[in-house]
Each structure stands twice: as structure tokens, then as C-alpha cells.
Amino acid sequence: MPYQSDTGLVRQRLSACANQLGIVLALIVVCTVLANRSPGFLTYANLTNVVRQISINGILAVGVTFVLLTGGVDLSLGSLVALTGVVVAHLAHPGDFPLIVPVAAGILAGACCGAVNGITIAWGGVPPFIATLGMMTVARGLALVLSGGRPVSNMSPQMARIAGDVGPIPIPALILAVVSVAAWWTLRNLRLGRYVFAVGGNENAARAAGISVRRVKLFAYTVCGALAGLAGVVLAARITTGQPNAGIAYELDAIAAVVIGGTSLSGGIGGVGGTVLGALLMGVIGNGLDLLNVSSYYQQITKGLIIVGAVWFDRWHRKQ
């Protein structure tokens, strides 16, 4: 092959891995420091906790990865989590419906809201920031209306079980794993997945290549909404209620995880692997700071500094 140099290919592969270098490095550093300062950190029970605790943010982050890859943004995630949680809780009273009904309803409700976002943005031409900001407030309002301002309780034990363990593994973590693999596979192996990168990388070029940019965006926002719905299901199970106030600022944590993981805010670069790493890093930091009994003021400062630091390093390294 006269035009493919072997060293070039090796450099490519290393570069791709190294893109995650900043985050992996940060993860190792943080884990080492924590293991040192807190005896309870490196235990099986604690690490299982961490994985369980990042599941909800992780699922949201995987979903919003699709949106960010198209160059868009979704601010409505937290409100969707609340709305779908309320929907789920209403359908999950003991003896009402088989488990599949509330779960499917939650995911469907999320997907519908995501589709509305997609249509507003792709066909209405409304900037994603505004469209999803609108959905953020509408969905929150809907959640309050559907719940009368109070948590919807009396959840069946089977529903609550979704947040439990199967053997040694937390189910929410399993859900996150399945979702991550499915998302990674989609982006790599589905034509639509390729189109997501094209639309984010250069919308005009994508269009000139015959891609329906609108449909691709609709796909991205619908997937994001559906996964927000799934996150709402898991959260409702974890706190055994449907809370209209749940999920406040969840979208910021989700987007932070994605950006830390290397996905560019302008679209076209990134992926699911980095997102999961980003969610993991944030979860480990939060867990560690709790274990070390650091005051919540300093927790916020630390979290923010580490996030900015990881992304700064990543951008600097990319320029090399």
C-alpha cells in the first residue's frame, strides 16, 4: 500500500488513546490520593457504591453525547428525569401494572420530549440552547402538574428492585454498561452513527453529501430524551418516589462528564468511551470528598477545578 505508512497508523492509534490520556491520568491521580487518605476508598463495597452512584449521571451523559456530537446541547435533561420519574411512579403502585409498563412509559415519555426538542431545533430552526431551555421549564412544570407538587409514593417493591443488586453487581451499573456498549456500537457501526459525526463536524458538508441533517438531529435528540427517561426510571427506583423536584442541574453534570471525556462542544469529535471515563472521574471525586468529610463548599470548588483542569490539559495536549 504505497500511500499508507505504518508509522503513521501507529501514531494514529496512539493519538486516539492519548486523547483520553488527560482523563485517565486524572482518574489515577485522584484514586491514588484517595486510597492513601481514606482507608474505606479502595474496598469492594465502596467501589460498587461509586459505580452505582454514577449510573444515573452516566446514562444521561451517554445520551447527551449524541446531541453534543451533532454540535447541539440539551439543557432539559434534569427536568426530563423529574417528569419521567413522576410518570413512572404513577404507574408503579403495587399490583397495578407489570413492571414493563412503567419502565416503557418512562423511556417513551423521555423519547417524546426529546423528539419535540429535535423537531423544534431541526425543523423550527430554534437554536438548541433556547429550544431545550424551553423544554426544561415546560417539562418541570408538567412534572409539578402531574404530581400536584408532591412526591408520588407507594412504589411497588419490584420497581424499587431496579435500583438494587443482582449478586454482587448493582443493577443501575449494569444498565449503564449495556447502554454504553449499545451507544458505542451505534456510533461506530450504524450508518446513522457515522452521520452524527458528519453533521457535527460540518453540517454543510454533510448536507452536500446527501445526508438529511434534520433527521440526524431528530435521532440524536430523541435518543438523548429516551436515555433521560431511562435515567428517570433508575432514579425513581433508587429513591422509591417520583419527585417533581428531582434532577435539578443534572444536565450540567452530564455535559461536564461528556466534555471531560473528550467530546468537543462544537461537535464532530468524541465518543462514548470518554463519556464513561468522565462520569467515573466525577463520581470518584464526589465519593472521595464525602469519605474525607470535606465540607460541601470545598467539594464544589474542588469539583469545578478538577473538571476545568482535566479539559484544559486535554485541549493543550490536542494541540501538540
Partner: protein, 314 residues
Amino acid sequence: MRRAIGVMMAVLVCGCGSRKEETTGGGERQPVIGVSLLNLANEFIVTLNVEMKKQAEESGVRLIVNDAQRSAERQVQQVETFIAQKVDAIVLNPCEVEASSPAVAKAIEAGIPIVNVNSETRTAPTAFVGSRDEESARLAMEYIADRLDGKGGILMMHGYMGQAAQIKRDAGAREVLEKHPDLKLLAAQTAEWDRAKAVTLMENWLQAHGDKIDAVFAQNDEMAMGALLAIEQAGKKDRIVVVGVDAIADALKAVKDGRLDATVFQDAAGQGRGAVEVALRLIRGEAVDKETYIPFKLVTRENISEFLTDGAAE
């Protein structure tokens, strides 16, 4: 077609007519009270609102209810609007001690009686109806001290740092801790009144402090329920006493089921109805107490039946 128009006109006339009746019932103008609430996305405030409306209906008063959605700025605007509308009195459920004070000052300047309900402001209102948050924490911690025979490790979950309720409940709890030197405060952290955050915090605390934990005091029931979930999942409920504040429906049920050890009943009915009553008396020019304190009540398995009828009625 003509019939349809006739029906529509009849409906319109009835509609207008009933509104007129509201304001002229019995020949005397119906008193109007403007209410600005902290946040209708909060269960306790929802109950407060419901009780105020009931009292207003019974007393023949009209309420205009606004939701400040946790913004002190919006609250001040709402009070200004009430003043412009020339309401007869204002009931204020303050967002913040400092930032909501201008609202109170403006009402007093305009000569409109203003009653603070549930929380305080730095500027003194015409009257205050509420409860002493320190008392709720004291009741909870005394119960814990009792259960632990004055000895053991305690964790405290705070609400939003800096909110009046958080500050006072913290103060009340620490008072009791000082009286019992063998009660050790292992850690205190905020879970921001949020059940989900409380689950995560409790999971991490169980990791960090393990068997040293004998009791958890959460400054509200949402957080207590969250802590409870984590403790139950870890199978440690028989070793740890959990107490919350508010007596929301979920908590009452949990006490009845023997899951939650105790909660503290904050009398939303007492506060809400009390505030409307006081406002009405001020409108009529009658004498009122400057401060009316509605007592908290400790709720445990022993006396749960008293409260369940209230809870079930919501």
C-alpha cells in the same frame, strides 16, 4: 343556531354574575389577602397553601396566591403588585431573611398589614405565625439521646446551607449535643433537602464510618427517607436510629411501618390557618399577638395514629 347563541349568552352572564357575587357577598366587600409563597414545589408549602385556602373559604376571605419560586426578588415584585392592587392584607412566606425584608418594609410603609408565616425576615412584620425551628431539632435530638442512653456516634444531614431552617435546626441540635457529652457528632454534611442526594451521602457515610454510626438526624424528612433507603439496603437498620423533620406523608407511613424511628410534625394547618386568621383580625382592626408560635410535635410509633388521619386526608 339561535339556541346555541342563547346557551352561550346564558353561560357568559352566569359567569359574570358569579364573579360579582364574590366581591359583594352580603353587602360588605369581601376582604382580599395577597399571599406570596416561598416555593410551591415544596411539599410542606403545598400543604400550607391548602390549609390557608380552606381557612379563607371558611372565613369568607379571598386569597390571591403567588409562587415566588425561591426567588426573593420575585417575592418583592409580588408584594409590590399586591400593594398596587390595594389588597387588605398580605401573608408572606419569606424566601430569605435579608433579601425578602424589603417586601415587608414596603407593605408597612403602604400601611397594609403584613403577616410572616413559617419563616422570619430581618424587618419586623405586623405579626408572625410560625414555629421555632430550633424546637424541632431539639425534639429530634432529645429523642435520639434518649434512645441511645446519651452515648453514641451521630451523623447530621443539613438542608441548603444558609437557609433559615437549616441554621436554626443546626443550632437546636447542637444545643442538645452539648448537654450530652457522650454523644459524638461523627460528621455533618448537606444533602440540600434532597432525597436522592441523601441516599448517595448515606452510602458514602456507611463506608467511611461503618459501625461507629448509631443514629442519623436529617433536618428534613426527604433526606431522612433517603438515608433510610441506604441504611436498609446495607442491612444496618437494626443498628441505626433515623429521625427526620416535617412529618410528610411518606415519613408518617414509614414510622407506622416501623422503618423510620421518628419525625417531627410541623403543623402546616396550624401555621397556615393561623396566618390567615391573624391577617383577618388585623384587617378588622382587632388586637393580635405580635408572635404566635405553633408547637412542633414528636411523632413516633406510639402516637402515630393521631397524625395519620391528618396525613391521609391530604
